[in-house]
């Protein structure tokens, strides 16, 4: 045993030092902050250009975003296998240009950018572009005049005028002003084009802003538009969908003014879609990235080097080792009984999605109702496999019922019930029910309570800001964690529960 102890000791020691060493290297030499401190939301925006080639040479032009409205671009990546690629500077903006002589199959081009918004500044106050009055038919012109006249009477200045106008356009079709209805009906263009035409006719300089509504974890997001108009001394932004003034939160400005963002020559059915992920990064790290955006080798060591879609998954994955440590500690040192060794970890992972209180109530409801139905199943004398399968199906039905009922009552949170691992719940119910039959409800409470306590502790640890910060920014610390778990595997001391269990031995001795 000495030999195996020394062996474990050596392995654990090496792992521990390796983990701590790498962490210190990153902290001291590369300047990663050890403490969470102030955070910045850094968005990774991955654009995918899809198109099918037609005959002849292919050229795809993508207008690239620039630092606008307080947004700062950190890192840019382009992926274009087999294509010639250049970034073209044109009248103040930048275009990415992919070219190729011939192309057989439909293809995807990638452009990835990381951006964050340190300050909430407005867009630059550029001089208004000249107004091009729209070409109108007689009745269109008359309708427009009437509409403008009506709204002018109701408004006090340009801002309120545009608000009223956009508000008119966002109304339900039946509630709209007749003239607005007529204009939308006769213009063979989207509503925002009609809006721009009305504004131009009214002599108000206005243009489109193209950009992305940022949603964490969102895939296949498409470009959205805002409108901005010039009041005489400054620009004001209005959302044509909600008629709200000002820049909406989490709107990433891609391009100001009209003009195509994507142009494909020699291709058809082109589309532009975005995948979005937000990471909370320590402010210091972000500053570092900004300064040495290209020469920042340490980023290759971290999860940030992964593709956007996998980063989110790893965020959660790196927390699991911490949760297992909680289980090991609670079982080996404290001596809590749990139903199923790592069931609490899975429950805690579900809690991460549902939040604690909702999660606990959902869990208790599901297991409670499950036990009740299971006791009824046990009278039917079924074979084990079909009984558990039946419980799984019942659990799924209960999840659906809970979601539907609570949604009808306006409790949106309960929709997260789908994050509970179905099979694990079914097994928990099965085990608890057998335990109930054989050892009574006290044992069920003991093991069920133990599992829940461990799950809640694991949840609390996993949601701790410092833990989240360390596991994501210093994944090498997991090696040290592994070392601790290996050492605990050789722990032969007493469990806390044994100090209670054997408490009476002292008396008469």
């Amino acid at each position: 045993m000495m030999a195996s102890r020394t062996q474990i000791g050596l392995i654990a020691g090496t792992l521990f030092l390796l983990g701590v060493g790498l962490t210190l290297y990153k902290a001291v030499v590369l300047g990663f902050p050890l403490l969470p401190g102030e955070y910045r939301d850094v968005w990774t925006i991955e654009s995918k250009i899809n198109f099918k080639p037609t005959k002849g040479p292919v050229q795809a032009d993508l207008t690239l975003p620039s630092n606008q409205a307080g947004w700062v671009l950190l890192e840019e990546h382009f992926a274009s296998s087999g294509f010639g690629f250049t970034v073209v500077e044109e009248n103040g903006g930048r275009d990415a240009r992919w070219t190729r002589q011939t192309l057989e199959n439909s293809t995807t081009l990638y452009y990835k950018v990381q951006a964050y918004r340190p300050t909430d500044t407005a867009l630059d106050n550029i001089p208004p572009p000249p107004i091009h009055k729209p070409m109108l038919e007689g009745d269109q012109s008359a309708a427009m005049e009437r509409l403008i006249g009506l709204l002018r009477e109701q408004s006090s200045d340009t801002e309120s005028f545009v608000s009223l106008l956009v508000g008119e356009f966002t109304k339900d079709r039946d509630a709209q002003d007749r003239d607005a209805q007529f204009l939308i009906g006769t213009f063979d263009e989207p509503e925002k084009a009609v809006l721009l035409a009305v504004l131009a006719h009214a002599g108000i300089p206005a243009q489109e802003i193209r950009g992305i509504r940022l949603e964490d974890g969102r895939r296949r997001q498409t470009l959205s538009s805002l409108l901005e108009f010039y009041t005489g001394d400054h620009w004001v932004i209005i959302d044509p969908e909600t008629a709200m003034l000002g820049m909406p939160a989490n709107f990433f400005v891609w391009q100001r003014g009209s003009g195509a963002v994507l142009g494909v020559v020699g291709g058809r059915d082109s589309s532009l879609e975005f995948a979005l992920v937000s990471n909370s990064l320590p402010a210091k790290t972000v500053t570092g990235m900004e300064q040495k955006a290209h020469a920042y080798a340490l980023l290759d060591f971290s999860i940030y080097a992964l593709p956007v879609e996998q980063q989110g998954a790893f965020k959660g994955l790196m927390l699991i080792p911490v949760a297992t440590l909680v289980v090991v500690l609670m079982r080996l040192i404290v001596g809590l009984k749990t139903s199923g060794t790592f069931m609490p970890v899975l429950i805690a992972l579900a809690f991460l999605q549902t939040k604690l209180i909702t999660g606990l109530s959902l869990f208790l409801i599901l297991v409670g109702a499950g036990l009740w139905i299971r006791s009824w199943l046990s009278h039917m004398n079924l074979l084990l496999v079909s009984r558990i399968s039946a419980v799984i199906i019942v659990v799924i039905f209960m999840m659906a019922t809970t979601a539907i009922v609570s949604y009808k009552f306006g409790l949106d949170r309960a929709l997260t019930v789908t994050f509970f691992p179905t099979i694990i719940l079914a097994w928990t119910i099965e085990r608890m029910s057998v335990l109930w039959e054989e050892d009574g409800w006290k044992e069920v409470l003991k093991q069920g309570g133990g599992s829940l306590i461990v799950a809640v502790l694991a949840y609390l640890v996993m949601t701790n800001a410092l833990v989240e910060h360390l596991t994501f920014n210093f994944p090498e610390l997991t090696l040290s964690l592994l070392a601790i778990i290996l050492l605990l595997g050789k722990y032969t001391g007493y469990r806390l529960s044994e100090l209670y269990r054997f408490r009476d031995l002292d008396k008469s001795a």
């Binding site: 045993m1 004398n381 084990l384 099965e430 722990y491 032969t492 044994e498 100090l499 031995l505």
Partner: protein, 317 residues
């Protein structure tokens, strides 16, 4: 405030904890490949018969659901029998029938059940309800043990069994587990059965505990534990020690029952014996295990090991 005992005091008393038991004894002395022999009661029985260790007579084994109906018809001819899952753990799923009342079967608790209930019980056993890890299992039907009448008064509605922990062929500690009304005829201490520590030297009771508290008499039958002297004590120690060699498991819990006609019989073996025996004996296992290690190093002779164990572990009353 919850009263706890200090870890240092526990160490002084030589109490063996769960972690040390798992790492230091089970993990070290019990090779996993030998577990099958103790986890599968049929294999245990075969091995015991091959080693001349007495076991309750086996009436038959039921392996498939379709055999159940025929088996229950055959059971009709018997007055008493015991049904067990072959791979059951912790005394789960054991059905003891002590007599008949016309078509009905009388359980040890006196409750009458019909043939359908027996079939349902068998079906549950085969489905793995009572077995380790919920695996499919077989059911075995055994002869009813005729308890030694001397021990009958120490148990209520159930089998009093004797657990001996043997380490490297040396009997280290023993207790008798007496079912009570509260434990529902089961000999599980955490369900309220009484644990009686037994002196290794003499086979006399050391003390008795229920729920961790001292008791002097059986709560249901009123039998006084102080007078208890287990009959055939030498044979019991002999049997327990021989099981270590038979299984190849260094650290073993041996459960023994006393039959009126056949004396001590092996009921089952346990490769992961519990720690409650220390509470029943008011003694720690660690010191005794250390002594047993020395005894095993000193001699290889079976009888000498037992003699030395009785000499060292006797409490002198």
């Amino acid at each position: 405030m919850i009263r706890l005992i200090s870890p240092r005091r526990l160490k002084e008393l030589g109490i063996l904890g769960m972690n040390r038991r798992n790492v230091g004894f089970i993990g070290k002395y019990n090779p996993r490949k030998n577990y099958r022999l103790v986890d599968d009661k049929l294999q245990t029985k075969e091995a015991a018969i091959a080693n001349d260790i007495p076991v309750p007579k086996l009436y038959g084994v039921i392996e498939y659901q379709h055999q159940i109906a025929g088996a229950v018809r055959k059971l009709d001819e018997l007055d008493g029998f015991v049904i067990k899952p072959v791979q059951g753990s912790g005394g789960k799923g054991i059905l003891v029938i002590v007599g008949r009342e016309g078509e009905l079967f009388r359980k040890s608790s006196g409750v009458l059940i019909d043939a359908a209930e027996v079939r349902r019980h068998l079906s549950n056993i085969l489905a793995g309800l009572h077995s380790l890890g919920g695996r499919n299992d077989k059911a075995m039907v055994e002869a009813l043990i005729s308890f030694d009448p001397y021990l009958e008064k120490y148990s209520y509605e159930g089998v009093p069994d004797i657990r001996v922990i043997a380490f490297k062929g040396v009997p280290v500690m023993a207790m008798m587990r007496c079912a009570t009304h509260e434990s529902d005829g089961k000999a599980n201490l955490h369900q309220g059965a009484v644990g009686v520590g037994i002196d290794i030297a003499s086979g006399k009771a050391v003390r008795a505990v229920q729920h961790g508290h001292l008791v002097t008499e059986h709560p249901d039958t009123g039998a006084c534990f102080e007078e208890l002297q287990i009959p055939h004590w030498k044979q019991i120690l002999d049997l327990a020690s021989r099981c270590v060699a038979m299984t190849g498991l260094g650290y073993l819990g041996v459960d023994i029952v006393l039959d009126k006609f056949r004396g001590p019989m092996l009921l089952e073996l346990n490769a992961r014996p519990g720690l409650a025996i220390q509470v029943a004996n008011l003694a720690g296992l660690r010191h005794r295990l250390a002594v047993a290690e020395k005894i095993a190093a000193q001699t290889n002779d079976h009888d000498e090991k037992i003699a030395l164990a009785r000499q060292y572990f006797g409490t002198g009353n």
